[in-house]
C-alpha cells in the first residue's frame, strides 16, 4: 500500500472511529415515549409503636450501669399501614407498609410511582393503620393490662412511688425520658392519612404526594409549569 494512501486511509478510519465514539457518547434514547404523567408517592414517617412497658425492679436496675437505667422498659413493634392509591375512584395500587429495618422499628418509607394519563384526574391517596391493637397500650394507659406498667404515667398516683423513682433515676433522667417519649409520640404518623385532590396534569408531569411532618397531612407538590 502506498504511504500516502495508507496515511489517508488511517486518517479516515481514525476520524470515523472518533465520530462513532462521539455518537455513542450522546445517542438519543426515548425514555418516556408516551405523554402519560406520573403520580409519585414518596414520604417517610415514624410509625406508631405498639409496645408493652413495664417498670424494672430495683434489683434489675441495680444490676445495670447507671447510664443504662431506665424508669420504663418498653418492648414491642411498630404498626403496619395500608397504602391505597386511587385515580378517579378506581384502585390503582395497594400495598402494606411497615417500618424499615429487620425489626421494622425504623421509619417507614414509601416510594411508589404510577403512570396516569395526562389531563384531569382525581387522585386519592390513603395511608391507614391496619393493626387492631391499640398502639402503646401500656405507656399511655395508667397501669393497664396488669403486666404493663408505666412509671412516668403514674404522676400523682402516689408520692411514695415518685419518691422511689426519683431515688432510683433522678429527676433529670426521668424528665429527659419523658420529653423524648413526648417527642416520639408527636412525631408519629396518625392512624389515618387521606388526600383527595383533583388535578390537571401536563404531559409527562410528575405529581408528588408526600407527607408533611409538621402538619401531619399528605400534600401534593408540583413543579413550576
Amino acid at each position: 500500500m502506498k504511504r500516502a494512501l495508507r496515511i489517508a486511509l488511517a486518517t479516515l478510519v481514525s476520524v470515523g472511529a472518533a465520530v462513532g465514539l462521539a455518537l455513542v457518547s450522546a445517542a438519543p434514547f426515548r425514555v418516556n415515549a408516551l405523554p402519560d404523567a406520573r403520580l409519585r408517592v414518596a414520604f417517610s414517617a415514624r410509625p406508631e409503636r405498639i409496645e408493652t412497658c413495664r417498670t424494672p425492679s430495683e434489683s434489675e436496675l441495680a444490676n445495670l450501669p447507671a447510664h443504662m437505667r431506665q424508669g420504663v422498659v418498653c418492648e414491642g413493634t411498630t404498626a403496619t399501614y395500608r397504602l391505597e392509591v386511587r385515580r378517579d375512584d378506581s384502585l390503582v395500587a395497594t400495598a402494606l407498609l411497615r417500618g424499615g429495618g429487620l425489626r421494622h422499628d425504623r421509619r417507614l418509607y414509601a416510594l411508589r410511582e404510577f403512570t396516569v394519563p395526562n389531563g384531569r384526574s382525581t387522585i386519592d391517596v390513603r395511608l391507614a393503620r391496619v393493626d387492631r391493637v391499640a398502639a402503646r397500650p401500656a405507656r399511655d394507659a395508667h397501669e393497664s393490662e396488669g403486666v404493663a406498667h408505666d412509671a412516668r404515667a403514674d404522676h400523682g398516683t402516689g408520692e411514695r412511688r415518685a419518691e422511689d423513682d426519683h431515688t432510683r433515676l433522678g429527676e433529670d433522667a426521668l424528665a429527659r425520658d419523658e420529653d423524648e417519649h413526648r417527642r416520639t409520640v408527636a412525631d408519629e404518623v396518625p392512624p389515618l392519612l387521606a388526600l383527595r385532590d383533583t388535578v390537571t396534569l401536563r404531559p409527562r408531569e410528575v405529581l408528588l404526594v408526600t407527607y408533611d411532618q409538621a402538619t401531619h397531612r399528605l400534600r401534593t407538590v408540583r413543579g413550576a409549569p
Binding site: S25, F29, V31, A42, R106, V206, L208, G223
Partner: protein, 519 residues
C-alpha cells in the same frame, strides 16, 4: 509455550488477529492502537486527570448544572476541555474492553496472570463508577436518569432501610452535600484506580505504561478535534417534576439503563452482578489442568554461572538470584518462583550456558532439536524461524517461496546458538519472524532477541556469525503478505553473498562462572 487455546479463545483470537492485521496495515505495528490498548487507557487517564483538574475550578456543588452550563457556553476553553474530558472517559472504557478481549484471546488470564486479570476487571469497574459519578455531577437529564435508575437498582439490595431513590423524588431540594459527596467520590475513586493499576502491573518487570509518543499525541489531537467539532452534550436541567421525552445517553456508561427499565431493577442488578462475577471468574474458568499447563522454568544449578542475565531478562520477575547454599562454582544461583513463572521461556534465550528454561525448551534442548533439522537441510536454503502462532498463518506461503520453516514456541526463546548452528550448518540465511514488538505474547521476547543479535546483549550471537545472513523481522499471524515480503527481501539480500559452506564445528557449551568476588 502457550497453553492450547479453548474454542471461545480461538474464536476471540481469530477476530483479534484479523483486527490486528488490519490496524497494522493502516497504522504500522508500532502505532497499532490495538497493540497499545492497555497503555492507551493509562494515557487517557492522564488526559482525564489534567482536564478534570481544570474543570474542577469551575464546578460549583451549590449550582452544579449552571456551572457546567457556563463551561459549555464558553467557546474558547470550557467547551472543548469538557468535551475532551468526556470523550477521553469514553475512549478509556473502549480501550479497556479491547485490552480485556486481547488478554482473554491470548490466554493471558489465568495462573500467575490471574492477579493482573482480576485487578484489571476491578479497574474497569472503578472506571465505570467514576464515569457515572461524573455524569451525575452535571445534573442534567442524563445525570438524573443515571442517578434515579442506579438508585432503583441499589434499592433492591436489602441493606438499606431507606430507599436511596427518595433523594431524587422532589420531596426536598437535592442538597449541595449530595453533590459534594458525589464530587468527592469522583475525585477519590481515581486515587483508588491508581492503586488498582499499580497492582495490575505489579507482577511484570519494566511495565510499559505509556504508548509511543506519536500515538499519545495523535490520541490527544483526535480528542481535541472531536470535542471541538461535536462538543459534549448537555441535556436539559434535571427536575424531579417533569419527565424528559428523550435523553441523550452515553451508551458506554449507561448500557445497563434499558435493562433496568425493561425488566426490573432486581433483575438488572442480578444480570450485572452475574456479568461481573463471570469476568472475575475467568482466571478460574480458563485455568488449564496441571497436565495441560506449560511447566515453569527450572534452573540447572550445575550449569548456572550466576551471571544474573535470566533474572534481568525475565519479563515477570519470576527469577531471583540467591546465594548458593553450599558454595560451588559461582557466588549466586538463579531460582525460579513457579508461582510467578508463566513458562514464557525468555530465560532460555538469555542464558549463555543454556542452564535455565522450561523443561524441554532450554537452549540445550533447542540445540538437540535443531541438529536433526540441520542434518536434513540442503545447503543454501533459507531458514525461517518463527513462533508456532505465526507459522499457522503463513507457513505454506513461505515454503512456496523456497524457505524451510522451523517453528519454535516463541522467537524470544530462541537461543542465539541455534542461529549460529543453522548458519554454520549451511543455511543461506536465517530469518527470524517474531511477533510485532508491541504484541509479543511474552512481552519482551522479540526485543531481547534483537539485542542479542545486534547489540551484544548477554547470550549474544557470536561475532564469528555473518550478520548478513541473519535478520529479525516481525509479522502478525494474518500478515502473510508482510511475512512473504520480508522473506523475499532477505532472500534477495543473501543471494548476493557467496554460497554458504557448511561448517559443522561444535558449539562450546561451557561458560566461565561468575566468581564470588565479582558478584
Amino acid at each position: 509455550m502457550a497453553a492450547k487455546p479453548r474454542r471461545l479463545e480461538r474464536l476471540a483470537l481469530r477476530l483479534l488477529t484479523a483486527a490486528d492485521a488490519a490496524c497494522n496495515r493502516l497504522y504500522g505495528s508500532r502505532a497499532n492502537p490495538l497493540y497499545q490498548s492497555g497503555t492507551i487507557v493509562i494515557a487517557l487517564l492522564g488526559v482525564l486527570i489534567v482536564t478534570g483538574l481544570w474543570l474542577i475550578f469551575f464546578y460549583r456543588v451549590g449550582a452544579p448544572y449552571s456551572s457546567v452550563a457556563g463551561l459549555a457556553a464558553d467557546p474558547w476553553l470550557g467547551r472543548w476541555i469538557r468535551g475532551v474530558h468526556r470523550y477521553a472517559s469514553d475512549a478509556a472504557v473502549l480501550f479497556a474492553l479491547v485490552h480485556l478481549w486481547r488478554m482473554y484471546a491470548q490466554g493471558r488470564s489465568w495462573g500467575p496472570r490471574a492477579l493482573a486479570w482480576t485487578s484489571g476487571v476491578i479497574a474497569l469497574g472503578v472506571l465505570f463508577v467514576c464515569g457515572l459519578t461524573g455524569y451525575v455531577m452535571v445534573w442534567d437529564s442524563f445525570g438524573q436518569l443515571v442517578a434515579q435508575e442506579g438508585a432503583r437498582m441499589l434499592d433492591t439490595l436489602p441493606i438499606l432501610s431507606e430507599p436511596i431513590g427518595r433523594a431524587f423524588t422532589g420531596e426536598q431540594e437535592l442538597a449541595g452535600a449530595f453533590f459534594f459527596v458525589n464530587l468527592f467520590a469522583h475525585i477519590a475513586i481515581p486515587l483508588g484506580l491508581g492503586l488498582v493499576l499499580w497492582l495490575h502491573v505489579s507482577r511484570v518487570a519494566r511495565p510499559t505504561l505509556l504508548p509511543p509518543r506519536r500515538v499519545t499525541w495523535a490520541l490527544v489531537a483526535g480528542l481535541v478535534a472531536v470535542a471541538s467539532l461535536r462538543p459534549a452534550a448537555l441535556g436539559a436541567a434535571a427536575t424531579p417534576f417533569q419527565l424528559p421525552e428523550s435523553v441523550r445517553v452515553d451508551w458506554l456508561y449507561a448500557f445497563w439503563i434499558p435493562l433496568v427499565r425493561s425488566t426490573s431493577p432486581a433483575m438488572a442488578f442480578i444480570v450485572l452482578a452475574l456479568g461481573v462475577l463471570l469476568l472475575l471468574l475467568v482466571p478460574v474458568l480458563t485455568k488449564r489442568r496441571a497436565s495441560a499447563a506449560p511447566p515453569p522454568s527450572v534452573v540447572d544449578e550445575d550449569i548456572c554461572t550466576g551471571c544474573r542475565q535470566c533474572s534481568l531478562d525475565c519479563p515477570y520477575e519470576a527469577i531471583t538470584m540467591i546465594a548458593r547454599p553450599d558454595g560451588g562454582r559461582s557466588a549466586e544461583v538463579a531460582r525460579v518462583d513457579p508461582a510467578l513463572c508463566v513458562s514464557c521461556g525468555i530465560c532460555s534465550g538469555s542464558c549463555a550456558p543454556m542452564g535455565v528454561g522450561p523443561p524441554g525448551r532450554t537452549g540445550r534442548d533447542q540445540l538437540a532439536h535443531i541438529r536433526p533439522f540441520i542434518a536434513g537441510l540442503d545447503a543454501g536454503r533459507t531458514v525461517v524461524v518463527c513462533c508456532d502462532r505465526g507459522a499457522r498463518g503463513w507457513r505454506e506461503s513461505l515454503e512456496e517461496e523456497g524457505a524451510v520453516v522451523h517453528e519454535v514456541d516463541c522467537a524470544g526463546n530462541l537461543h542465539t546458538s541455534v542461529i549460529e548452528l543453522l548458519v554454520r550448518g549451511g543455511a543461506a540465511g536465517v530469518l527470524v519472524l517474531a511477533c510485532p514488538p508491541r504484541d509479543c505474547w511474552n512481552r519482551e521476547g522479540a526485543h531481547w532477541l534483537s539485542e542479542r543479535i545486534y547489540a551484544d546483549r548477554e547470550a549474544e550471537l557470536q561475532a564469528r556469525v555473518d550478520r548478513r545472513r541473519v535478520r529479525v523481522a516481525s509479522a502478525n499471524a494474518s500478515e502473510t503478505a508482510e511475512a512473504v515480503a520480508a522473506l523475499r527481501g532477505f532472500m534477495a539480500a543473501t543471494a548476493r553473498l557467496d554460497h554458504p559452506q557448511p561448517d559443522h564445528a561444535e558449539i562450546a557449551l561451557v561458560c566461565d562462572p561468575v566468581a564470588v568476588e565479582e558478584a
